[in-house]
Every structure is written in structure tokens, then in C-alpha cells.
Amino acid sequence: MATRKTAPRRHGKVRLTKATASEILAAVNVSPAEQRRAKSAVDSVKRRVQRASLEAK
């Protein structure tokens, strides 16, 4: 795959420290209402995908 050939390999991969979800949401100023709305969209998509998968069977 072309992508892998051109990635910077000289210095290896970058090691990251990992934030928790609450830290990420706070850093980006996601309000509790926005988080609920986002979660609802994710849940809705999840249900739709599950339904489509069941119908395909």
C-alpha cells in the first residue's frame, strides 16, 4: 500500500500519552447537552446498522 511506503520511519512511531474521554470532552468544550446529543446520534446509527445486519440475514 502506497501509504505505508511514504510514512516517516526514520525516527519510528510517535508514542502518545492518552487522555480519558472526560479530559477530551473538557478540552474541546463539549457541553453535557452536546454530549447527550452526540451519544443519541451514535446510538441511532448503531441501531440502524444492527437492524440492517439482521435484515440481511
Binding site: 501509504t3 510517535v14 502518545l16 492518552k18 480519558t20 477530551i24 440502524r48
Partner: protein, 210 residues
């Protein structure tokens, strides 16, 4: 540019073209950063308050530990913002080489040698204009402890793109590149990341081993 205080070790500034064709790549980039426990930031968060947008962009970049710049839009109309912000990021790197990292994305290999020859010697990450290519670029660059990360992130990013489209429709927005939608996409990415076990919800839950 002068050296700032300690930047947030998880904050990543993303500098990408805001056009409709780039929306899926933008969501994939934001999503993968969240899946890896990073805090994505972009100019959508910068509100014009009359004191100059440029200064506020620089201030936002100085709070980040690294930046990712996509220079794939080279045609007409000419876009100067992305190379301009790359220049700002490079100046941060020059001032404090060990404290700031700069990564460049492009669609085609070797093109940057012609369009930005001053940047020669550093290979851009080539995503090929595809979401899967974007995931591969990020996994080539950053260490992640997620098992089978490529397949997991591709699947999670697909769910996130569907969620983003739904949120965009709900907001009756013509573009995803709006401050509120950016926050919602980050919120959705965080929710997917928790659900799939990529990141923990909070330190309290981590200590309990949940």
C-alpha cells in the same frame, strides 16, 4: 513566535481544507485522534472577537503538542491558509524542537517536493484521498495499544462518519465545518471510543479497573 508555557501533551492542532469533499476525511482524522486518546483542535474553535484571528490561531497552536496539516488541496481556488498555518507550526518547532511535532498529509507521494520544496527531506503522510488511507497514515505515525487497531479504527470511523452525517442533517447544516458540529463529532467519537474500549471514560473508572 516565542516559546510558550507547557503545552497540553494530548492536544493536537489539525489544519485541513474545509470543503465538502474533505468532510469524510476530516471526521476520520478527528475520530482516530480521539480513538488514540488525543484532543483534536482546529480553527473552528477560534471565534473572531476583534483582536485578530491570527493571534488566536497561534495561541491555540501553542497549547498543542503537535499539529497535522493536510496540503492536498493544490488546485483552484488557491488555498493559502493551510501552508500559512504549516509555516506557523514550523516556527513553533524551530523555537522548541523537542516540544512540538509537525506532520503533513497529502494525497499523492512526492508532490510536496514540487509544491513546497522548502519542506524537502520530510516525507508527508500519504492518505490517497481515502478514509482508510487516513487511518493507515495515523497508525503508521502513532503508537497505539489497541489490538487489531487498523480494522477496529476503520470500523469505528465508519460509524462515526454515519453519526456525523446524522448530526449534520439534524442541525440542517450545509457543512460539517461548524464549531457546534465539530464539538458534536468529538463527542460522538468519544462515545464510540468508550464503547469499543479504546479509551476510558475517566480516571476514576480507570482506577476501578472498569
Amino acid at each position: 513566535v516565542t516559546a510558550a508555557g507547557t503545552p497540553d501533551p494530548n492536544a493536537v492542532f489539525i489544519n485541513v481544507p474545509f470543503d465538502p469533499a474533505y468532510e469524510p476525511l476530516f471526521v476520520t482524522l478527528v475520530g482516530c485522534l480521539v480513538f488514540m486518546g488525543q484532543e483534536p483542535h482546529c480553527v473552528l474553535e477560534v471565534r473572531e472577537k476583534g483582536d485578530g484571528r491570527l493571534l488566536r490561531i497561534v495561541e491555540l497552536m501553542r497549547t498543542c503538542r503537535m499539529s497535522i496539516h493536510d496540503l492536498s488541496r493544490t488546485g483552484m481556488p488557491v488555498r493559502f491558509n493551510m501552508p500559512f498555518e504549516l509555516g506557523l507550526a514550523c516556527s513553533l518547532k524551530v523555537v522548541n524542537p523537542s516540544a512540538y511535532e509537525v506532520f503533513v498529509l497529502d494525497t499523492r507521494p512526492y508532490r510536496l517536493d514540487k509544491t513546497l520544496s522548502d519542506y524537502k527531506g520530510r516525507d508527508p503522510l500519504i492518505h490517497g484521498g481515502t478514509c482508510d488511507g487516513m487511518v493507515a497514515c495515523l497508525l503508521d505515525t502513532f503508537v497505539t495499544e489497541v489490538p487489531d487497531a487498523a480494522a477496529q479504527f476503520r470500523s469505528a470511523a465508519r460509524d462515526l462518519r454515519r453519526s456525523a452525517q446524522l448530526l449534520k442533517r439534524q442541525m440542517r447544516a450545509s457543512s460539517l465545518f461548524r464549531a457546534a458540529l465539530f464539538r458534536l463529532v468529538v463527542g460522538a467519537a468519544a462515545d464510540i471510543a468508550i464503547d469499543r474500549g479504546f479509551i476510558s471514560e475517566s480516571h476514576r473508572l480507570t482506577r476501578r479497573g472498569l
